[in-house]
């Protein structure tokens, strides 16, 4: 089954100096408050975080509900924002594949793919023996998932005490944390070019199509970075 030592090692990653607990918790406090304002009850708020566990997706859902979008529109809007999880999964799972590990672990733990857990794993995987990486990953995922659910709960109950300034302060924490994690991850020229092009092209494509901008910017930026890297090697 799951190796406890590595599972706990992963779980404890939220206690370390580069812990995402504060950033992640703060965002989900904001989400909890937002969901309550939208008329969600406590069970719905918790299930929403547990089942979605992806911040931009929850935000888009909330925005769509506010303007009374249809279910199909909600599905498409969320899918456009969260399609990034596909390349994230493909660039993470091969690092954790080991023939001694059962397949269900991979299918089960794909639910934990979200920026914070992904960046921690990408920044640390080399220190963990390949055979045990999936257990470590399940540990990180469970930890960040717990933080998200607790954050939602706190936000739901503190909703009435959070004014607009505090909510804006909470909302900026997430992009700042991710930016810092990205700076830390910038170790090879390919990754640096990918990040810089993504930062530029993402907003640039917004002028053509707000829905497609993240995907188009990511695919264009990532492909150019990949090709420049490949040409340099040759």
């Amino acid at each position: 089954m799951i190796n406890t030592k590595y599972f706990l090692g992963g779980y404890k990653s939220i206690l370390k100096a580069d812990s995402p607990a504060i950033a992640l918790g703060a965002c989900f406090v904001a989400i909890g408050a937002l969901l309550k304002n939208l008329g969600f009850n406590i069970q719905e708020s918790i299930f929403s975080t547990m089942l979605t566990y992806a911040l931009p997706g929850s935000l888009v859902m909330a925005e769509s509900l506010l303007i009374g979008a249809s279910l199909l529109n909600i599905f498409l809007a969320v899918f456009f924002v969260n399609a990034r999880l596909y390349p994230m999964a493909v660039s993470l799972f091969p690092l954790m594949m080991h023939k001694s590990q059962p397949k269900w672990k991979y299918y089960f733990s794909c639910h934990f793919i979200a920026v914070s857990a992904w960046l921690i794993m990408k920044n640390n995987y080399k220190n963990i023996p390949k055979q045990h990486r999936i257990d470590y990953w399940i540990g990180i995922g469970s930890a960040t998932w717990t933080v998200a659910v607790i954050g939602t709960l706190i936000g739901f109950f503190l909703c009435d005490y959070l004014n607009k300034d505090i909510l804006i302060g909470l909302a900026i924490i997430n992009p700042i944390y991710f930016l810092c994690m990205m700076i830390e991850a910038s170790k090879t020229s390919q990754i640096i070019i990918s990040i810089i092009l993504g930062l530029i092209l993402g907003p640039a494509f917004y002028f053509f199509s707000p829905e497609w901008s993240i995907l188009l910017g990511g695919v264009a930026g990532g492909t150019i970075a990949y090709l420049t890297g490949e040409l340099n090697v040759k």
């Binding site: 390349p87 493909v90 660039s91 924490i173 700042i176 944390y177 700076i183 993504g198 917004y206 993240i214």
Partner: protein, 107 residues
């Protein structure tokens, strides 16, 4: 309303689980030293960067109420704090929240 909330949660989690699950399925056949893996690695970082830039420049939710200038200002100062605090993650994140809330209150 509560019925539509239930379906909205269901639809949202489906739309989120789908790319995750498909990614896990495709990963079974991709080796970590392959070119395809390298390409997807670049795609993942670029998409994330695109998402971050979009949340800051074209936000949804609470951040829409903060002025464009104040957001850029907070980002630049938080990165400086991050670099000067020997890459500590707690200082810049807390600093950014306080600065953002204050700027929004006084500007």
């Amino acid at each position: 309303m509560s019925n539509s909330i239930f379906y909205a949660i269901l639809v949202t989690s489906l739309a989120t689980f789908l790319p995750r699950f498909l990614g896990a399925v495709s990963s079974q056949r991709i080796r970590e030293d392959s070119k395809l893996f390298k390409w997807f690695n670049c795609l993942a970082y670029a998409t994330l960067a695109a998402l971050i830039a979009r949340t800051i420049i074209f936000p949804v939710g609470a951040l829409t109420d903060a002025s464009y200038l104040s957001r850029i200002f907070v980002v630049i100062f938080s990165i400086i704090v991050f670099l000067f605090s020997k890459k500590n993650y707690v200082f810049p994140t807390i600093f950014s929240a306080i600065l953002m809330a204050m700027l929004n209150n006084y500007l």
